[in-house]
C-alpha cells in the first residue's frame, strides 16, 4: 500500500451471485486529491464506491481505509457520502433535514449553521431552505445531498454521479466547491460517465471497463500523453498518409499530423518538408479524456 493513499483496494472483487460487480481491483487512491472514477454504465464504479464505503463486503480481497482494513463494523466517522439516488423523508423541510442529520452526526445545528449558509449560498439553495423536500426538484435535492456530504467536515468525501440534475452554472460552482475543499486537504472521490464534464476537474483518474480497473493515471500524465500535432499547409491524407503510416504512432487527419511518440517527431517533420509542404505550427497535443478512454476501450477490445 502506498503511504500517501487514503484508500487502497487490494485484490478486491465483488460478485452478486454469479454476476460480477468489480473484479480484482488493485489501486491506491491518493490522499488530498480529487480522484475520478470513469467508466460506462455498469462498469463497476458504483460497486467500487460501495466497497470503499463499507456498504458491500468484498467477495475476495480487502479494502484499506486510512491504513486500516475495513470491516462491516468500521465507522465512517470522517467520511462524507453522496449516493447515486437520494430519497429523503418527504415531510422534512431542507433545514429540518440538515438539523436532523447534524443531530445524528453528533453536531449542534448552530455549529454547522454558518457552513450551511455559506454552501447553500454557493449552490443557490438559500431560497429552498424552508421548503418541504417533497416539493423540491431533483436538482435541489441533489444540492442538499452535496451539502450534507461536507457537513461534518470529513477527510474523505465519496460522491456517486454528483452532478445529476444540476444546471451548468451550479455544476461549475460545485466543482469550485470541490477544489476549495481539496485545497483544505480533503480527499474526494467522484464517479461519472460524463467524460466532458469531469475532464480537467480531477487530479487522478481510474478507468473502469467490464468490471475491472483498466487504468489508473495522474491527470498531468493524461494531459501530456497526447504527443505532438504538426499543422501543414494542405490536406495530405491521400498523398503522404501511406508513407507516414509506416512510422508507428503517427496519424494523419487532413492538414494535421499527430505524432504520439516524440522519437519520431524530427523524422516526420523532415519527411513533410522534403515533400514540399510548409509546416505551419508544431503544438503539444493535449489528449482529451474521452479520446484517452476510448483508446483504452479499443486497446482492451483488441486484446480481446
Amino acid at each position: 500500500m502506498c503511504a500517501n493513499s487514503i484508500v487502497s483496494l487490494q485484490g478486491a472483487s465483488k460478485w452478486y451471485g454469479k454476476k460480477p460487480g468489480v473484479l480484482d481491483c488493485n489501486v491506491d487512491i491518493p490522499r488530498g486529491k480529487i480522484t475520478a472514477f470513469v467508466g460506462k454504465n455498469g462498469a463497476g464504479k458504483t460497486t467500487a464506491i460501495k466497497l470503499i464505503m463499507g456498504y458491500l463486503r468484498p467477495t475476495s480481497g480487502r479494502v484499506i481505509l486510512n491504513g486500516v482494513p475495513r470491516t462491516m463494523l468500521t465507522v465512517n466517522g470522517s467520511i462524507g457520502y453522496l449516493p447515486e439516488s437520494l430519497r429523503f423523508p418527504e415531510l422534512y423541510s431542507v433545514n429540518q433535514l440538515f438539523e436532523s442529520l447534524a443531530g445524528i452526526r453528533g453536531l449542534r445545528y448552530r455549529e454547522v449553521k454558518e457552513f450551511l449558509d455559506r454552501e447553500a449560498e454557493l449552490l443557490e439553495l438559500q431560497a429552498y431552505r424552508k421548503k418541504n423536500l417533497r416539493s423540491c426538484s431533483k436538482g435541489t435535492r441533489q444540492k442538499v445531498g452535496i451539502i450534507q456530504a461536507f457537513m461534518h467536515n470529513p477527510q474523505l468525501v465519496v460522491m456517486d454521479e454528483p452532478t445529476t440534475g444540476l444546471d451548468p452554472a451550479v455544476r461549475h460552482r460545485f466543482f469550485q466547491l470541490l477544489r476549495q475543499r481539496q485545497s483544505q486537504g480533503v480527499s474526494i472521490i467522484i464517479s461519472s460517465h460524463n467524460l466532458k464534464e469531469i475532464e480537467s476537474q480531477a487530479d487522478y483518474y481510474l478507468f473502469f471497463d467490464q468490471n475491472r480497473i483498466i487504468e489508473a493515471i495522474d491527470a498531468e500524465k493524461l494531459g501530456s500523453g497526447g504527443g505532438t500535432c504538426i499543422l501543414v499547409d494542405r490536406d495530405i491524407s491521400s498523398t503522404l498518409s501511406p508513407k507516414l503510416a509506416n512510422l508507428s504512432a503517427t496519424v494523419v487527419e487532413g492538414c494535421k499530423v499527430l505524432v504520439s511518440n516524440e522519437d519520431f517527431l524530427n523524422g516526420v517533420i523532415s519527411l513533410l518538408i522534403g515533400a514540399g509542404l510548409q509546416v505551419k505550427n508544431v503544438l503539444p497535443r493535449k489528449s482529451n479524456l474521452e479520446d484517452y478512454f476510448l483508446n483504452l476501450l479499443a486497446e482492451g477490445s483488441e486484446r480481446g
Binding site: 462491516m72 430519497r87 457537513m151
Partner: protein, 260 residues
C-alpha cells in the same frame, strides 16, 4: 435516528392512511354492533352490555385483521428502504455506528406502532364513552397492549424477511401468518384439541389475548381454552423471546448483509 425514522415512515399518504384505517375500524365496528338497530333509549339500556361487548369484540377482531397487516405493510416498506435504500447510507456517515442506527430505526418504528394502537384505543374508548355504551377499563388496556406487542413481533418478522431476502414482497408474508392465526383462533368451533400445526402456531405466535376472549364467553375461541390453565406469562415470554430473536437476527442482517 428514531425521530428521523418517524419522518421517514410518515409521508403524507401514510399519515392520512393510518388515520383512515383507525377511524374505519372504530366506526365500522360501531355500525356492526347493533348500536344503530337498538337506537331507542330503552333498547339501549336493555342491550347496553351486549352492544358494548360486541363492539369491543369487533374492535379486537378488526384491529387484528386490518391494523396489524397495515402495520406490517408499512414496516415492510420501511425495512426495504432501510436495507436497500441508498439514502440510508448517508446516515451511516459522520460517526454513527450501524447497530445504533438500527436500534434507532427500530425505536422509531416501535413508536409509530404504539402510537397507532394508542390512537385506536383512545378513539375506541371515546366512542364507548360518548355513545354511553360503557367505560374504558383495565382489561381493555390489557388487550390493546397485548395486540400492540404482537404487532411489534410480526413487524420484526417482516424486517427479518426483507433483510434476509432483500425483496419487499416477502416482508408481507407475516400478514398471511397473522391472518391464519386469526382464522384458526376464531373460526374453529368444534375441535378443541387442536392439531399439531395449530399448537405449533400457538407456540410461535401467541396473541396472548385468550384470557380476555374467555370473558366474552364466545365458543369461537375454544381452541385456546386448553391454554386457560397456563399462566399468562407463558405466552408473553414466548412472544418476547420470539421478538428478541427477530430483533437480533434483523440487526445481524443490517450490519453484515446490506449488499445490493
Amino acid at each position: 435516528m428514531a425521530y428521523d425514522t418517524l419522518h421517514k415512515i410518515l409521508s403524507l399518504k401514510v399519515l392520512i392512511m393510518s388515520l383512515a384505517v383507525v377511524l374505519a375500524i372504530v366506526f365500522v365496528c360501531l355500525a356492526m354492533s347493533d348500536y344503530m338497530t337498538a337506537a331507542e333509549p330503552a333498547w339501549h339500556d336493555l342491550f347496553r352490555e351486549h352492544i358494548s361487548r360486541s363492539y369491543i369484540g369487533n374492535i379486537y377482531f378488526f384491529a387484528q385483521m386490518l391494523l396489524t397487516p397495515f402495520i406490517v405493510i408499512i414496516s415492510t416498506l420501511a425495512a426495504h428502504d432501510m436495507y436497500r435504500g441508498e439514502a440510508e447510507q448517508i446516515y451511516l456517515t459522520g460517526g454513527l455506528r450501524k447497530p445504533v442506527a438500527f436500534i434507532g430505526r427500530m425505536l422509531g418504528m416501535l413508536v409509530y406502532i404504539l402510537v397507532l394502537w394508542w390512537t385506536l384505543f383512545l378513539v375506541a374508548g371515546f366512542v364507548l364513552i360518548f355513545t354511553g355504551l360503557g367505560n374504558i377499563d383495565l382489561s381493555m388496556v390489557d388487550v390493546f397492549v397485548k395486540l400492540s406487542i404482537n404487532s411489534v413481533a410480526i413487524s420484526l418478522f417482516a424486517y427479518f424477511l426483507v433483510g434476509l431476502t432483500k425483496v419487499a414482497i416477502t416482508g408481507i408474508l407475516p400478514i398471511l401468518l397473522a391472518q391464519y392465526w386469526l382464522t384458526v383462533n376464531s373460526n374453529i368451533t368444534l375441535d378443541t384439541a387442536g392439531s399439531a400445526l395449530h399448537n405449533a402456531v400457538n407456540y410461535l405466535l401467541p396473541l396472548n389475548t385468550f384470557s380476555r376472549f374467555a370473558e366474552v364467553d364466545i365458543e369461537y375461541f375454544d381452541l385456546l381454552m386448553q391454554y386457560q390453565d397456563l399462566a399468562p406469562w407463558h405466552g408473553s415470554l414466548l412472544l418476547i423471546t420470539f421478538a428478541l430473536f427477530l430483533f437480533l437476527a434483523s440487526l445481524e442482517l443490517y450490519i453484515t448483509k446490506q449488499d445490493q
